[in-house]
Subunit: 138 residues, 3 copies
């Protein structure tokens, strides 16, 4: 069984928003019992991550860490066409990633208790982001 | 062909332990000749990585690098409920990853000569860690 | 449908080279319409990444960032058998990754407009690198 679906996500600017329920809804609708769910972001300035999902300060701390490691407007960067967060967003995407592969078991995403799926927008301005979910299984 | 198996790994605290033989045993038992093997860790404070497998100082150096880049007790972090290694472990997982996808070829994991699969515990205390292996192929 | 193909890439030393067309050619030849394409590098001192593909200064800036974060000859490292770029290359691979999974849609890699596939050599000397492409779909 193979199902592929593309969803659009509007981000309000830099920060995380949870997608666990949206992806889980696709898994349920597809009727896959056992298999793999691949979630892919078609962009190089935002990320898809699994983060601790209980305490929002975890995501606040991830943001703070990224901001210190990869500061906007770093004089190291030459690619600044779209502003001081342009190249910083590309580096954040390189390090945090842009896709996830999650086991499906008993018809559900087999996430750990504290794992949630988040889209992490790295640009300060709102963006329209495209995500493709591919399910393989039986 | 689709096989899914969950294994439990007891970690002795921060550090790496090799899982290559455990995963290879599942591949052999499954009888998949050609395909993909996905290995997923259901946690946000430990990692699954491919590391150089010949010289143990490589893993010692990865640990040293992580410790310098993401120090325990960093005053930047607000999420410190479970101690000074709590948030550091989440950041390490973000950067080092939590899953692997490896080609299967001729009935074996098609790893490079120097690639080994390691579970990298980021917490100082021992933990019980759950890993799901999903095999797809023929 | 399951297709697996291994290609060899000669790198001229540290830096990026685009593989998008080589992988797309395998997808076309395989005749997969919908599915997933997994691209795996069998090495621990080079990476496979998706990078912005329009402005070469993005890749120049990724290189500059990696060089500052993970300097060659860092006195922290003990694994220096093959020179000052040996352990730095392993850390770069840990952070930038060694494989990619990309949706296939309408018979093509469903990359975003600005996403290109790059092999990123982390060693200064030229190397022969092995890449396995696995296609699953229908």
């Amino acid at each position: 069984m193979l199902i592929q679906e593309t969803i659009e996500v509007r981000t309000p600017g830099r920060g995380t928003q949870e997608l666990t329920q949206s992806v889980e809804a696709i898994v349920r609708r597809a009727g896959v019992t056992t298999g793999l769910c691949h979630v892919f972001l078609h962009h190089t300035s935002a990320s898809l991550i699994l983060s601790e999902n209980a305490d929002p300060t975890v995501r606040r701390d991830l943001e703070a860490f990224a901001g210190r490691l990869i500061p906007d407007g770093d004089p190291l960067f030459q690619h600044t066409d779209e502003g001081p967060d342009d190249m910083a967003a590309h580096v954040r995407t390189l390090l945090a990633g842009h896709d996830l592969t999650i086991p499906v078991r008993n018809g559900h995403l087999a996430l750990g208790t504290w794992q949630g799926i988040y889209l992490w927008e790295h640009r300060h301005h709102p963006h329209q982001r495209r995500v493709t979910v591919t399910l393989q299984g039986e």
